[in-house]
Structure formats: structure tokens, C-alpha cells
Symmetry: C2
Subunit: 205 residues, 2 copies
């Protein structure tokens, strides 16, 4: 694959030298595909290496541990969510905060369905991610604070947790995989707003 000029069976591209970023990106893409097919736990480094045409040790050059791969795969979506939470917090009215958060949360979930299904249902991945991002306040509690305030009553807290967990898990549900993004986004947002007492936005025409 490296300097084989005789072979014309190039999988993709034609240049001999691969940019380091490219190998890493290819690895992450392959990992995400295999993770979604077999689960994180069901995907071995050997499988990833074989799919890339390299050895296990080559994979270890790019990532020190398997957990680092799962983190790197999930990181973009997590960063998106994190940014949305911070943006939401800048609004003055609580209603606007909640609206911003729900819009962003549902949007990220829908656009990253496979990924969300993966790391919202895998305790190992979730744990690894919490360690990675920020040392102090976990992403989840930050999200909850914006959603229900610093000291919510139990009813509000339970409702918020049901909402977030439900959106994430239902959004990633394989049974809804053939629903297009726009439609799913509308239904999830509708459900979330109803639960949290936000006024309807999509009055049926």
C-alpha cells in the first residue's frame, strides 16, 4: 500500500504518502463503523487493524489504548453538546435557555444517531468520556442545571432526566433508523417540549 507502484488496486486516492491526519481519520471512521456494527465491546483492535490492512501495533501508534479510540470517536458530538449547553446558559430568560438547549440537543442527537445510540447505551464509553471532558463539573449535570435550575424539586428533575434519556435513546433506536432527520427532529422536539412545559411550535397545518 505504501510504495507499491505495480499494484493498481488502490482502495482510495492514488498518492503514495498518506498524511498522518489521514491515517488517524481513516482509523476513526473504520472504528465508528465497526463499533456501530458489533458494539464497542464486540470490536477488537484486531478487527480494526485488519479492516485497515495494518497490524494491531500500528493502531497502538496512533492511540495509546482502546478507550482513547472510543473517546476520539465520540468527542466531536460531545463538544457540540457542550458548546450548546454553554450557549444556552448565556440567554437571559429561562424559557430561551431551555429552548436553545432542546433545539441543540435534539439536533445533535439526530445528526449523530449511530454515535448517540452507541455511547448513550455503553457504560464504559460514557465513563471514559466524563473523565476526558473537563475535570470538574460533568457534562450531564451542567445540562441538568440549565434545564431545571440549580436546585430543582424532584418532580422537575425526574421529568428532565426522563426527557434527556428518552430523546437520546429513542433518537438512536435502530427501529427509527429509516425516519429522515427532519421528521425525527420535529417529533423528538415536540415530545421534549411537551414534557418540559414549553409551548408548541409546530401547530399542525
Amino acid at each position: 500500500m505504501t510504495a507499491g507502484t505495480a499494484g493498481t488496486d488502490a482502495i482510495e486516492g492514488s498518492s503514495a504518502a498518506q498524511a498522518p491526519e489521514d491515517t488517524r481519520a481513516r482509523l476513526l471512521g473504520t472504528a465508528l463503523r465497526l463499533f456501530s456494527e458489533h458494539g464497542v465491546e464486540g470490536t477488537s483492535l484486531q478487527m480494526i487493524a485488519d479492516a485497515l490492512g495494518v497490524t494491531k501495533a500500528a493502531v497502538y501508534y496512533h492511540f495509546k489504548a482502546k478507550a482513547e479510540i472510543t473517546e476520539a470517536v465520540a468527542e466531536p458530538a460531545i463538544r457540540e453538546l457542550d458548546a450548546i449547553v454553554d450557549e444556552a446558559a448565556t440567554h437571559r430568560r429561562r424559557g430561551a435557555q431551555i429552548d436553545h438547549l432542546l433545539d441543540g440537543f435534539v439536533d445533535v442527537v439526530v445528526r449523530n444517531r449511530v454515535l448517540v445510540a452507541l455511547f448513550s447505551s455503553d457504560p464504559g464509553v460514557a465513563r471514559a468520556l466524563e473523565k476526558t471532558l473537563h475535570g470538574s463539573q460533568t457534562f450531564k449535570s451542567k445540562l441538568m442545571t440549565v434545564l431545571v435550575g440549580p436546585e430543582p424539586d424532584l418532580a422537575a428533575e425526574v421529568t428532565a432526566r426522563v426527557t434527556l434519556a428518552g430523546i437520546a435513546l429513542a433518537g438512536g433506536d435502530p427501529d427509527l433508523a429509516d425516519v429522515d432527520d427532519e421528521t425525527l427532529r420535529r417529533h423528538l422536539l415536540d415530545t421534549a417540549r411537551r414534557l418540559l412545559g414549553r409551548p408548541r411550535r409546530h401547530p399542525r397545518p
Copy 2:
């Protein structure tokens, strides 16, 4: 099933022999405890064996594979849920069906919080369980049918999935571990009924 047709009690009176059921039950209890502490993935057969004071092979005598242990641990709760779905289906009015299902579902979730958190968040366990129970119709789709009918519109389907997933995940959430059963049950049921358009039952006094 053991062929204990002698009519006498299976518990051994003389010597140090233990009833087979007892060892198996102890094993499952220990497994559940370790699973909830370290996760299924984070619990090795060696850890289970050590906690019981036996060897790995002894564990392997009672269960052919680790997956069989996780199935056996989760089975009672699954059977409960399955029975509730069937019971719910016997009601004539749809409202009564939904009520029965929600009451039972929330109750099982709350009473088996640790377990639910475990196998609703572990894709490997969930997959193994689906294979175990019934060959044809999966438990989840049966549940959905009772909840929204055989051919629901997309809005109803999304709402139902958000509800079930949210209840299960929020119910098992460690952050709500110190809420007592009765209180959690009431809040979860309230949220679920609101989402599914069932009238309130707990008007605030």
C-alpha cells in the same frame, strides 16, 4: 431440571454437601452484586469464583458461558415485564391496557433499579436477552403494540419510545438512587402518563 422425584426434600441432611439450587442461587446473587459494582464487562468469572470461594471451572459447571449468567440474572425481571404485557393485552379498553402496562412497567423498573440500569445500558446484555426470550416477536415490539396499537402514526411511536426508554434509564440512574421506591414510582408514572395523554391520578392535595 433435576430429576428429584424421590419426594423427599432436596436439602442434604448429612455431611457437607450443598443443594445444587443453593449454589446456583448464591452464584447469581454474587454475580448481580459484582455486576452492579463493576459492570458486566468489568466482572470476570474469576472474580465471581473468588467471591464464592470456588474455582472458575466450578462456575463453568453451573453455566456454560458468561452470557448465561447475565441472562439468568436478568431473567426474573424480564419475565415479570413479559407477564405484565400479556396481562395488559387482556383488557378491553385501550385506556385500561395502557394503564396496566405503565403501572407494571414503572413498578418493575423501580423495584429492580440496579438490574434495569445494568441491562438497559449494556448492549451486550440486551442483545443476549432478546435471543433468550421467545424466538419470534421480541418483547419490546410486543410492548409497543400494546402501548400504541398495531399500526401507530410516527408521532405516537416516537412518544412511546421516548417514554419507555426515558423511564427505564431515568429509573436506573444512580443520581436518583437515594429516592425511595414509592416516590420515584409516583414521579415516573406521572411523567409517563402525561406523555401518553393519560389523565392525572395524583392531583396534588
